[in-house]
Symmetry: C2
Subunit: 553 residues, 2 copies
């Protein structure tokens, strides 16, 4: 075919045809871009085609649950074999679409609570997985080889023109909408309310094709709330070691915390233990982090200068608005989050990522994969990878780079800390000779074992037995013994070469609490700046409003 | 101070005070958010404070030149010691602000044509450089420790409410505005025109504080236009080797090209040489790339399925709009670019980066730094770094990973190709024992030598003498000899261990044109799909309109 008679605007024509079909199907029920929720199935039947790539906004927290439910209820005779693109599969309907044959292919990042059912549906041949990504990687593919044809998103409110206010939980919305609207795709938004005047416009109406008020507000999971009452004294000890052995040692000013009780304990020790070490103003000043309730006491103590967030956290809205010097808020005063920018910031502008894991092998590879569950990655692979594109220096980054000792050309290094108790629930050892990820890869036909953080990106492993600094290991054997040396009474730990481990300890590669001058007797819950949810509410001056399930008083 | 009497909204208060001062200074000249260009100095004097962090939109291409000029003309008694944040320093006024004492500190990414003057001003103590970044890294810091207090941006048009249309050259605007507007900062936009109805809203008025129509349209540099007439036959040969020895070898479908004649030659060989090898549909399908005019013949030949862009390219507007199946365009039909998303896409979703450099050392570190010039990095460190946060597999990525042969845990690898003639202009050797970057670091007080791409991230070095595959090198010595083995008649090349180089060639670590079955006699300009600018215009069906300076007919 010559260029002359080739058609170059098929996407635009197809888009126009679908919009016309929607207009016809909805008739006078369509008021500009607004339609009643009762007509959502008609809209989806009109604009979807078999085989479409469809992005359903399933975020880490915010869910386009009404649209997801509607999608799952469509007629599989008319709409089938969709290729779903989704950050997170969190709700049953996210898998119902596959079970019912409406969709057949999936590219995603994280599945969390649906991991076991996802594995079963893959085994049953009902889902073909394209790949599992980290969030920013999946967004990247939206602009290269996986642009969505139709996106189903969630916002707080729309005005009558179709402008959207995404509010505190903006999360993935800007990335999804941009990749769709600027590739001649179709954007459909569910909103909690339709108002005359939005607090602010977050997504211009020009980028949105349809908005529908959902019968119930969209679902939001309070994923980052940890009840301080459940923090153990072992976690307090590990948090003390983290603060004295890593935060203070490298003077880490810019950082990201993973999710969980281990890092919540660190947050709650900043205004007590870290303050007593004279670290205020010297560590933990700038954060890429959601508004963790556990950080309230540190914020109130003046430890924290700024926090940019991937998403928000349920109940933290009023607190965030009242602490606008710390958080990112709009001209209207309400919070703004943005996962794409926060992931970029966490990767390139933070000196440290610290997070928990489930399994670590002898090379330091860590994974949360377990057999029979395809849980995915989320954001950790991106935060927990050395940012090799980074060029600006900081004392922490330079010190880590010196310790890693690149041959020839000096270079900085990101600190990537994996924090784990040697035994997890049900006395499962956290240290293993071989990750479960290997067997999962074999049984699920993955090209590579699903490693969350690769050993050569990890700088430190922290357990209740001590800190192993992998940067200082000169070879694979030393690295293995450094890991065994903090692996406690697990089989991996018991098989240590005792003399070599003592030698590594002499060299400071392994450091135990006593080597750090930490008095273990102080490692009690008394050190926590808040010991209950009520303490957090009190610390916030009553501004924090925990979701009901966390109100135990 | 207790939390009770601590003030938590100083940024918001300060913002309100500045806006009130601006309203007072401008009086009735302020119509909503719009002011006449004659009052710009009054506005800037009203909203700026000494020591402010100010982001001036200097992009790779689009320049907020009117605002930059106004800034450089302010009264240094009133506005001084600004901390400038800027992607690119391209124009004289970008340095005038330092020369005149209005600004004193600088964090940036690239300085290009101002590199020599920048070095002089640093030596003279007029500029303190915070750090030099890659683009996405600098954007990341805007959300962590370098949020702009005031941003001076450029857009195509504003409406009377202050909504902005950024058009094809959106570039860095969304990242800058988001970091400022959501940190209680102040956003000032220069626009080419003020209209009743925008083609589409790109930046909502709620995120913008002031808009001013500039006397002249903002400057745009046609940075990615290369006249095919200037491509040499050596570049044709190197392009043939790239296509047959790398693109075909790894079946690279998703990629980014650096700037320059080397990669322009590859683009112009796709519809001729690559087509003759049966590679259409198998390589170079999806791109993270600006609309390079040299890619027009490949697009017309159906080689290219999609292109997402960092910015646009002057003269390509009509062509892009007419090829909307290939490019990212808005619902209004005009192009959209976005540097932040395209950098993320290039880093995480592309299998290869290929670009030119100035100097390569024996470890494969490459740099464009030369003494007396502080030129910065731009986007290359990010595109040319292994994406260690990537988790999705592709054949190219897996093959590169297998060749690199990670011990223990298998992993994919990004292909990072450095393409360079052994001698550059003025017979300067491209291969050196020690990069000029070392001396530049010493004389400029940098913490590390400014390396563009680190040797351990480079997979291939391609010269007219052949391709060195560094992934296959088993140790530092082999790597050094592989590099010497393609370094031609430079001193580095002449000092090769001939036997070892032949051994590397036997193993396929080094491959010469003849090893690839390339007939060097075919390496003539006849192989180029376009040999002149006029050929490009013709190939575009008259849609491409080159800037005047490229019209040589």
């Amino acid at each position: 075919m010559t260029a002359a008679n080739r058609v170059w605007n098929r996407l635009q024509t197809d888009r126009r045809e679908r919009l016309a079909q929607a207009a016809q199907a909805l008739g006078t029920d369509l008021a500009g871009k607004l339609l009643p929720s009762s007509r959502i199935a008609d809209l989806l039947h009109a604009v979807l085609r078999p085989g479409d790539r469809v992005c359903l906004e399933g975020n880490n927290q915010k869910q386009a649950d009404f649209l997801g439910m509607a999608l799952a209820g469509l007629d599989p005779q008319r709409v089938h074999d969709l290729h779903m693109l989704q950050s997170v599969l969190a709700l049953p309907e996210h898998l119902d679409v596959f079970d019912r044959g409406i969709a057949s292919k999936l590219d995603f990042s994280f599945s969390g609570p649906q991991a076991a059912r996802l594995a079963r549906l893959v085994s049953a041949g009902k889902i073909q997985i394209g790949a599992i990504h980290t969030y920013l990687e999946l967004f990247g593919r939206y602009f290269i080889d996986l642009p969505p044809r139709v996106s189903l998103i969630a916002a707080q409110a729309a005005d009558r023109h179709g402008n959207l206010y995404t509010g505190p939980n903006t999360e993935d919305t800007p990335a999804i909408v941009e990749a769709t609207a600027f590739r001649s795709g179709i954007v459909i938004a569910q909103v909690n309310e339709i108002v005359d005047e939005l607090p602010r416009v977050d997504i211009p109406a020009d980028w949105v094709d349809f908005a529908v008020r959902s019968p119930r507000p969209h679902y939001i999971e309070p994923l980052f709330t940890r009840d301080p009452a459940l923090i153990s004294e072992i976690q307090v000890l590990m948090a003390m070691m983290a603060i004295k052995g890593i935060y203070a040692e490298y003077e880490i000013e810019r950082l990201n915390h993973g999710i969980g009780f281990d890092t919540a304990a660190i947050e709650l020790l900043l205004p007590t233990y870290a303050e007593s070490l004279g670290l205020k103003g010297r560590i933990a000043r700038h954060w890429a982090l959601n508004p963790h309730p556990a950080l309230i006491p540190a914020i109130e103590a003046g430890f924290v200068e700024s926090i940019h967030s991937f998403g928000s956290e349920l109940g933290m809205e009023r607190y965030v608005e009242a602490r606008s010097d710390v958080f990112y808020v709009g001209p209207d005063g309400t919070m703004r989050s943005n996962r794409a920018f926060c992931q970029a910031a966490g990767h390139y502008a933070c000196d440290m990522f610290i997070g928990s894991t489930l399994q670590i092998d002898l090379q330091g590879n860590s994974s949360t994969a377990t057999l029979g569950r395809i849980s995915g990655f989320g954001g950790a692979p991106n935060m927990g990878a050395d940012a090799r594109g980074r060029r600006h220096a900081s004392p922490a980054w330079l010190k880590a780079g010196r310790e890693a000792g690149n041959a020839g050309m000096p270079r900085g290094r990101k600190l990537v800390v994996q924090m784990v108790e040697t035994f997890r629930e049900h006395m499962e050892p956290a240290f293993v000779e071989r990750l479960d990820a290997w067997r999962l890869a074999e049984t699920s036909g993955m090209a590579l074992p699903p490693v969350m953080i690769y050993g050569d990106d990890v700088s430190h492993i922290l357990t209740e037995e001590g800190i192993a600094n992998l940067l200082l290991c000169r070879n694979e054997e030393e690295r293995e013994q450094a890991i065994r040396g903090v692996a406690g009474y697990t089989a991996v730990g018991l098989a240590r070469d005792k003399r070599m481990v003592e030698n590594l300890r002499d060299r400071g590669v392994i450091r135990r609490a006593e080597d750090l001058g930490i008095d273990k007797r102080l490692a009690t819950r008394d050190l926590l700046a808040a010991r209950t949810m009520k303490d957090l509410v009190r610390a916030s001056g009553g501004l924090y409003e925990p979701p009901r399930r966390f109100r135990n008083w």
